[in-house]
């Protein structure tokens, strides 16, 4: 290790750290060992499951397999849906209900449409024409007020 930080060679630092660490040996403590073993006797080693990282793929595969199994069971236990014949004739009674409904709704719809069309038919052009005519008349000085061309 020939790294150097500023002017301090790291191999010297490493040697000193190792030397000092070697001088720090802790003597074996019987009392501590006794305490540890007492605590261990009170405790029980647990056969732990594998770590989460190793467990999740199995869990995912298990869930997927369970979902497929449930889907298959449901598919096989459902009663078959009766197929509709392609050219089934519609009963006459069905027509009656439809024509009644049309008859009942046609009147109000038609009325509403007519009113709406009437309102919008001239786009208020009739009123504008009437105003313009009145303006022209007012410009004619000699015309008597009660002349036949007066527009009301």
């Amino acid at each position: 290790m020939n790294e150097q930080h500023n002017n301090f060679p790291v191999d010297h630092l490493a040697a000193r750290l190792k030397r000092e660490a070697a001088r720090m040996a802790e003597p074996f403590s019987e009392s501590l060992h006794g305490r540890v073993m007492r605590r261990v006797s009170e405790s029980r080693a647990q056969a732990a499951p594998p770590p989460t990282a190793a467990r999740w793929p199995f869990a995912a595969i298990g869930l997927a397999a369970a979902a497929v199994a449930v889907a298959l069971v449901v598919f096989h236990t459902q009663p078959p849906v009766p197929a509709v014949p392609a050219h089934k004739e519609i009963a006459r009674a069905d027509f009656g209900a439809v024509t009644d409904l049309i008859r009942k709704t046609t009147g109000p719809i038609q009325l509403t449409m007519n009113v709406s069309i009437e309102d919008q038919s001239f786009g208020h052009l009739d009123r504008d024409v009437k105003s313009f005519g009145q303006f022209v008349m007012n410009q004619l000085d000699n015309l008597p007020e009660a002349a036949p061309g007066t527009i009301h």
Partner: protein, 192 residues
């Protein structure tokens, strides 16, 4: 009649998991001193409590030990996390209960500090973060590989390498900037 050859850690761990208390006792004997030394440098006076807790947790979690890896880094990983948690709890307690004057003028602390002055490891403990200190300790004192330290600290090998590099740089800068006599370390001019 000769003694049977000592069993390796993995075999002892397997026996302990199967319920052999004596096997676990042997592991505890083997690793008590290294763990105590690490804990002493990390947490000081509460080292024995940390070591005891480490062994109890190791016993309870023997089922999680993967035998393809060495036992020592696995055990130190438990000890490492115990020390980190212990230091966090202690800092919270200190902030909550001790006044500034109690911290500064406790004669026992002052005496201990004076004794520790000469140690480079004490300087390391003082200026490095908990995580950096542990990495440096495991590398130099326990002579673990980068990969083993990465396993202990749950980091990548690259991250451990970078951390060690920074820790060494910090230590070296500090040693250079400080008068060595302040630490009671004679400056070996020839070596430096």
């Amino acid at each position: 009649m000769t003694d049977p050859p000592p069993q390796d850690d993995t075999t002892l761990a397997r026996l302990a998991l199967a319920g052999d208390r004596a096997a676990f006792g042997e592991l505890a004997r083997r690793y008590q001193s290294p763990l105590l030394r690490f804990a002493r440098r990390s947490v000081g006076g509460d080292a024995e409590d940390v070591v005891q807790e480490t062994f109890v947790k190791a016993f309870e979690r023997l089922g999680q030990y993967r035998q393809k890896h060495a036992f020592k880094p696995w055990l130190f990983a438990i000890a490492y996390h115990e020390t980190i948690n212990h230091l966090r709890r202690r800092r919270v307690r200190t902030m909550e209960t001790l006044t500034e004057s109690e911290i500064d003028h406790d004669p026992a602390d002052l005496a201990a500090a004076a004794d520790e002055k000469t140690s480079l490891w004490s300087l390391a403990r003082e200026i490095l973060s908990d995580v950096q200190f542990a990495a440096v300790w495991l590398f130099y004192a326990e002579e673990m590989s980068i990969a083993e330290i990465a396993r202990v600290q749950r980091r990548t090998s690259i991250s451990v390498k970078v951390m060690l590099h920074r820790a060494r740089a910090t230590l070296a800068r500090h040693l250079e900037a400080t008068s060595f006599s302040d630490f009671g370390i004679p400056l070996p001019a020839g070596e430096l």
